[in-house]
Assembly symmetry: C2
Homo-oligomer: 335 residues x 2
Amino acid sequence: MTGLNESITADDVARAAGVSRWTVNRAFKKDASISPKTREKVMRAAEELGYVPDLRAAALASDRSNLVALLIDDFTNPHKLVMLERLTRALRSRGWDTLLVNTLNREDTGPALLNASQRRVDATILIGIQFDDSVLAAAHSARRFKKLIIFARTSENPNTISIAVDDAAATKEIAEYVMTRGYRRPLYLAGPRTVSAHLMRKETFQEFWQTHFNVTPDTISVEAYDPALAGQTLTEELSGREREAYPDIIVCENDALAIGCIDVLRHHFDLQVPRDIAVIGFDDVPQAGSPNYRLTTYRQPLTEMANYLVDVLESDETTKLDKKFLGHLVTRESA
Amino acid sequence: MTGLNESITADDVARAAGVSRWTVNRAFKKDASISPKTREKVMRAAEELGYVPDLRAAALASDRSNLVALLIDDFTNPHKLVMLERLTRALRSRGWDTLLVNTLNREDTGPALLNASQRRVDATILIGIQFDDSVLAAAHSARRFKKLIIFARTSENPNTISIAVDDAAATKEIAEYVMTRGYRRPLYLAGPRTVSAHLMRKETFQEFWQTHFNVTPDTISVEAYDPALAGQTLTEELSGREREAYPDIIVCENDALAIGCIDVLRHHFDLQVPRDIAVIGFDDVPQAGSPNYRLTTYRQPLTEMANYLVDVLESDETTKLDKKFLGHLVTRESA
DNA sequence: CCCCAATTTGCACGCGCGTGCAAATATTTC
DNA sequence: GAAATATTTGCACGCGCGTGCAAATTGGGG
């Protein structure tokens, strides 16, 4: 019930239960070789003393921590909160703990990786946007990572496992939709250039449009996945144009950008969405479904992806673990 | 540069540098007693071999992990993302790592706490909403927590350290503002009952109104800090009323609720904010400033609070560590 | 160049548990 | 009920580093 000592160890429990220390630890391990009644006796004593196994020591001894580091930096994008929820849920419900590392700024990616490696995590997951391949290469060559997983983003780095939506397929579906609905003057709004490069959404869209209409659609890029900044960037872009030169649809690399666009279209330019200009996003963040935005967007199968990630953690394979997922277009009223 | 061996230990570096293992570890410790030139020699060798100290072993040996657990459950509230950013930033920039624990559901609070204790974290921080005092009491009596911190929420539990905004002062400021601006038929929209009880915002507001106008304002509560659910609850409430019985302002326990309200007021009831009904929130989430909401709200000094939290972690005091902060009202157009 | 104080380095022991095997029990078979 | 097999239990050693102190080294004054 109560424990007066600062820390109760397996030895204390062993003494109380009249067994050896090893038997105590066995009792706490899932399918260990131990008789039911010994286990119960041990558990009772443990309960009494308030003992729980020390995972630090277990990790040290077994060189397996059941801990992953999650590196993230893009806190202005509301989608990140959804990703955090899905990932931590999948991980925790299957016995994995998560070390959340805030990559404070671009220069901090290296130190953040180092930080993770010092905790000897079993895997490092990147869901941020600021890392580039040189950092990954350096990290890998230092051989400090058992597994380096890029989540929700593809990567060309061969030492990395990428778990992401099939951006090409998704973008084609979006482009197809845009075309079918009769839009002819799209403006593509991309995120930070380095990140966009990983996504290939912009390129895929442009290519599609080029193929079908023989023109490259206008494209601008926002320096962060931040609704406010997206609004600002769009405002600057449109302010330099005649009303007739406005696009009929803004295709956004993700919802964070799309939401910022809708806000300024309505409140700065006094336009209606989709009547005057339509908007389409990517991710299907919670707000996208609100009566205020009714955003047409593309939903990634995050839960499935998160579960696959845990499969990867628990797998011994070291190759061909990359996987692309298919999501689906959620059509609402914004486009 | 490259390391062929699976793991390089301090012994390897010691051998390479021609010193003892202890000297190697000393070289990595901030103000350890070591001569500059020995340290450099060691560091060079470490660099060469790709060695970094193993924090698991260090934690085990010193019984100090520089790790805190952060328990969270309220992922529908966008403010949580802001809190995560501020907390992880403050923690990491001062050398602390964060274990993010998703409290999967109400029954999971106990297991989540257990989880943290098995990692022997130096402190556990609660920023979720589902915990109740019985769980905290149980956790404390098991003496498994060096420090149990409730962040952004007050707590009556004496074994707990609460770092929060002064809700009474904040709510009074809000109430004062509501009164001064001439609103006379407020509707108070509270969050889940158990959480509201911790905040005392509802009670403070009611008391204020009772004192000044001798009536208790209408109050309804939403079962989660979820914009969509808030909208739904408000819709049900207003649908049962005549147009004349509508409130002139909706005072929300936080921005998540306020945003949900604004959405349905506009899009379901076709009302204007603030002309027909005003709305006021709490937290100042990023969206609150968007041209779409222009939400009047109360901003907590999160950065300051996060830094104080780290002070608490680094303090040896065990008493009187609770602290209340003052924020300020951010007036925009919604009220 | 010697002596004493200040600085720097080395070390025994322990942190709590995992691994793999050998010893001790329990269970089955005929 | 004895022998053979299956199950359960105990243990030596190691995981990588911290603590506190003792030994070794350095530097400066006379």
